[in-house]
């Protein structure tokens, strides 16, 4: 090999130096190269040191960490030993970093354009005019809408996916040789993830820069990386070209990572309702619920988030609720729990109507419906011990105290696979997966009939998330509790749920047993979600972008509408003049499987064969005008 690598990591060692304890090694001698035009993925679960290693290319460590050996050579210069002034010259010009959350990176008070061009101008590399021109060029390359004006907007005026791409523009403004991307798509919806991945891939190819891509998601890596470095606990387990690692993993840890990747959603994975769960009275039923936030003039909510929702949760069943963010999934769970009183409609528990507001519900009614929050980090009081957190529902609902309570707590901890010595610890001393187990344990300790799980695996990495799902499956078999499982990730839901409810813009667009929802006929939105789940296959991204659903639906946000079908503007099958005017009828192919669509089931099923022209913007305006003219004559 004659090419000089852009970045060489040689026997890199990084340690944490707590003041009252001997140093703890975090990175234990890692070596890899990044060649020009190459994307190297660092993959591993949280705590494996992947972010720490990637930051070494900027000569930076997080507070409390220190370089203790090895070299991180960027274009032949060791970034570790450079003095701060020289480091600053390298950063921005030769290496740029893209953090996980764009929303947290942008200053909400400054216009996007100023922030994108700031570093280039500050470094004196370009004049403001040149930087603006360069930024516009990048907005074009990243396929951002309205590239000549988007720089004049504020961060809250663009969508999450767009902000993520704008952050890429910020990093690329000075044409760095190396781009460090730290989990840039992890917090995004599957559909947004595709949009961002596609833009990143294109811009990396066009700019010819090399990149380090940090992630825990192998399916994403398969789309974008050339080489993979598998890390565990600060050590390289395996490294090599992407197709070798993906198709022929050798190391047992790599194999385990692969096993944790959930299969593509398809019919026949879930434990679909069998005869033993006879259809009796549902544990929890939602009838005709409309809910929203704020109070409008006529007593209705100012912003309606849910419209006329009917969902029933059978005893011992798992109902998966899916949809992109902004579709009202969490709001539905909050209505069920009483945290948000419904404006209209009923919530029934065991056939009895529950009061809409939490404060009016009896304590034993509250006990039977428990809410598990998405972020275990914030849902556990940092000043209470694990024992107190799990024990409180026991005392509160069942009056169990003292020794008996302690025994019960240990029993529940055992059930969620937490070691007994955690009883006296505080949440900050636990890992993300362990905190999520405590969060679940608290819900279970109440002795509920229905457990509402709001995105409980979304914040966890692949392996930890898979472990939590395994635990949930076991708990469900052991306890007979019904679950409402909310997620934006169809693959998580499909392996675990009995029934699926697909929400879009506050309405149920499809619901039914998991096998039927995941097999044709599909609602066009369901199909979009299914095609958006990344597969661990090289070339999947390009294939998906070819599908009509993706072409029409990706890169558009959820909009709540009052009339017609809300999916209208993203739907490849939309019938102009019908779908945007009238609410879609509900069609049933088999009892229990409902699709809300103007297209007949045959048309929906057969949709691949019948492409229809999609009209947007001015085209639609032209057609409308024509129709109006025709009507006048």
């Amino acid at each position: 090999m004659t090419k000089q690598p852009i970045f060489e990591c040689r026997e890199l060692k990084i340690e944490a130096r707590p003041w009252d304890a001997p140093p703890i090694p975090i990175v234990k001698g890692v070596s890899f190269d990044v060649n020009p035009g190459e994307v190297v993925a660092l993959i591993g679960e949280s705590g494996s040191g992947k972010t720490t290693i990637s930051l070494s290319s900027l000569g930076y460590t997080k507070p409390g960490l220190h370089f203790s050996g090895g070299e991180a050579r960027l274009l032949g210069k060791d970034m570790i030993s450079l003095d701060p002034d020289e480091k600053r010259l390298q950063r921005g010009e030769h290496v740029a970093y893209l953090a996980q959350s764009a929303a947290a990176t942008f200053n909400p008070a400054l216009k996007i354009g100023e922030q994108v061009t700031e570093s280039a101008v500050l470094h004196g590399a370009m004049s403001q005019q040149d930087a603006n021109a360069r930024a516009e060029e990048l907005y074009n390359a990243l396929e951002l809408p309205d590239p000549d004006r988007i720089g004049g907007r504020y961060p809250h005026q663009v969508s999450g996916g767009q902000l993520q791409r704008l952050m890429a523009a910020m990093a690329l403004v000075e044409k760095p040789s190396l781009l460090v991307l730290d989990e840039p798509t992890t917090a995004l919806d599957v559909t947004t993830q595709i949009e961002v991945l596609k833009a990143f891939k294109k811009v990396i190819e066009e700019e010819g820069s090399a990149a380090i891509y940090v992630t825990h998601d192998l399916a994403v890596v398969a789309q974008i990386a050339d080489h993979i470095v598998v890390l565990y606990s600060g050590e390289v387990m395996e490294q090599g070209p992407v197709d070798t690692i993906i198709n022929h993993p050798k190391h047992s840890y790599t194999k385990r990572l692969m096993a944790a990747v959930r299969p593509t959603p398809a019919a026949g994975q879930g434990d679909a309702a069998t005869g033993e769960h006879a259809r009796e009275m549902p544990a929890l039923e939602v009838k005709g619920v409309t809910a929203g936030y704020g109070r409008g003039a006529d007593g209705k909510p100012a912003v309606t988030v849910l419209r006329d929702i009917n969902v029933s949760v059978e005893r011992g069943h798992v109902v998966g609720v899916i949809g992109e963010s902004g579709c009202g999934k969490s709001t539905l769970a909050r209505v069920m729990a009483g945290l948000l009183p419904a404006a209209d409609g009923q919530v029934m528990l065991d056939g009895k109507e529950l009061k809409p507001a939490l404060a009016d519900r009896a304590r034993d009614e509250l006990q039977l419906v428990q809410f598990v929050f998405q972020m275990a980090d914030t849902a556990l009081n940092p000043r209470q011990t694990i024992g107190d957190i799990i024990g409180r529902p026991l005392t509160f609902y069942q009056g169990i105290k003292g020794r008996e309570r302690r025994e019960k707590v240990l029993q529940i901890m055992n059930m969620v696979e937490l070691p007994p010595e955690f009883e006296g610890r505080f949440p900050a001393e636990l890992s993300g997966g362990q905190k999520q187990r405590v969060n679940l344990a608290r819900g279970l300790a109440a002795g509920p009939e229905v457990l509402l799980c709001d995105e409980v695996t979304s914040a966890l990495d692949t392996i930890v998330g898979a472990n939590v799902i395994k635990l949930l499956e076991r708990l469900r078999a052991e306890t007979g509790v019904s679950f409402v499982f909310i997620s934006h990730d169809l693959s998580t839901v499909s392996s675990f749920a009995d029934e699926i409810v697909v929400l879009y813009a506050g309405r149920v667009v499809e619901q039914g047993p998991v096998d039927q929802v995941l097999s044709p006929p599909f609602h066009p939105y369901t199909r979009l979600l299914i095609t958006s789940v990344p597969e661990m296959r090289i070339g999947w991204l390009e294939d998906t972008m070819q599908t009509r659903e993706a072409a029409a639906g990706i890169a558009r946000g959820v909009e709540i509408t009052d009339i017609g079908c809300p999916f209208f503007n993203r739907c490849p099958l939309a019938i102009d003049g019908v779908c945007d005017r009238e609410a879609p009828p509900i069609r049933e192919d088999t009892p229990g499987h409902q699709i809300a669509c103007h297209q007949t089931l045959e048309e929906v099923e057969d949709s691949e064969a019948k492409p229809q022209k999609i009209l947007h913007g001015y085209e639609k305006a032209l057609v409308d005008e024509e129709q109006a003219r025709a009507a006048r004559h």
Binding site: A16, M237, L358, A379, N381, R392, L430, A446
Partner: protein, 313 residues
């Protein structure tokens, strides 16, 4: 990167991969050298506040009339430091050192009790405003705005003019004035915590307001409030001292650092040879105590990553 695949050796039990902990090493409070010195200074004054009367060579109101040999002194006022009076005497011929030692009890005692009162009232009302409805919040907040709109000293002047100065009144006055600023902090902290998921989880469980306040909100507000307590104490010391300096605070013959500075102000004009020590010494006492407390608070908020400091502004 080369096209070859390299694979690490697998250990003896390759199938066990524990979930890795993701918590960073915990940072514990570690005082800097300046911080340690400050702790010593504060401890020194607190010790004197407790045991001063037994240590001081004279009573705070004792007029020195005789020298060590028992001979009467012509003019005992503004004497220079000597082996009899280490820091000299004040304008009436009382021992400065003894008065500072006695004064530690008055100054620190009044300020501490007043700050405690401010905290009790401020936290109770602040948390109530954060937790209760919009109406309560509005009424309390506007009331506090009204109090804060007055300059502290001005408010002190009005109230003392109306009721006359006494130690209980001084405590109540400082407590009230500073309860307003404590209210602001407690309310902001309370509002921050009330929207956290764990409070929502408690509400979803059906917990009552008392539980939510005492078990969910207060423990999480305790650390920032405790840090602020130090700063607030400094303000109260300065406030009481200022009132005393104006002659509105602690009344003679009880010694108090603030009034000592004022009483001996005329000595300042005479220069070091003529009794400047008498008013400088109590001023130094006030300065060392307040600066030391400030430095300790700085160390604590630095250990909390500066986030604490942000909340307190």
């Amino acid at each position: 990167m080369s096209d070859e695949t390299t694979t690490a050796d697998e250990g003896p039990s390759p199938d066990i991969y524990d979930e890795l902990p993701d918590a960073p090493p915990k940072t514990r409070l570690r005082l800097s050298l300046v911080g340690k010195i400050s702790v010593a200074v504060v401890a020194f004054w607190v010790f004197l506040a407790f045991f001063g009367p037994w240590i001081a060579p004279y009573h705070e109101a004792f007029f020195i009339e005789d020298d060590l040999a028992g001979n009467p002194i012509d003019d005992p006022s503004f004497m220079l430091p000597s082996s009899q009076t280490w820091l000299g005497t004040d304008y009436l011929g009382r021992d400065i050192l003894s008065r500072i030692v006695w004064g530690a009890r008055t100054t620190i005692g009044i300020s501490f009790v007043a700050t405690m009162l401010a905290y009790f009232v401020g936290i109770t009302l602040g948390i109530a405003a954060a937790v209760a409805g919009k109406m309560t919040d509005t009424v309390l907040s506007r009331l506090v705005d009204a109090i804060l709109a007055f300059p502290n000293i001005m408010l002190g002047l009005i109230i003392i003019a109306a009721f006359g100065s006494s130690i209980p009144l001084l405590i109540a006055l400082a407590g009230l004035v500073y309860a307003a600023s404590v209210f602001r902090i407690a309310r902001a902290l309370g509002q921050d915590i009330m929207v956290q998921d764990f409070v929502e989880a408690a509400r979803a469980r059906g917990e009552g307001l008392w539980w939510i306040i005492t078990r969910e909100v207060l423990p999480n507000a305790a650390m920032p409030l405790a840090t602020d307590f130090g700063l607030r104490l400094v303000f109260v010391i300065l406030f009481i001292s200022s009132l005393s300096f104006l002659g509105l605070g602690v009344q003679p013959p009880i010694s108090d650092w603030g009034s000592m500075v004022r009483e001996n102000l005329q000595g300042l004009g005479n220069g070091l040879s003529g009794g400047a020590v008498a008013s400088i010494a109590p001023a130094v006492a006030i300065a060392t105590l307040t600066i030391a407390i400030n430095l300790i608070v700085d160390d604590i908020s630095a250990a909390a990553g500066g986030s604490l400091a942000k909340k307190m502004v």
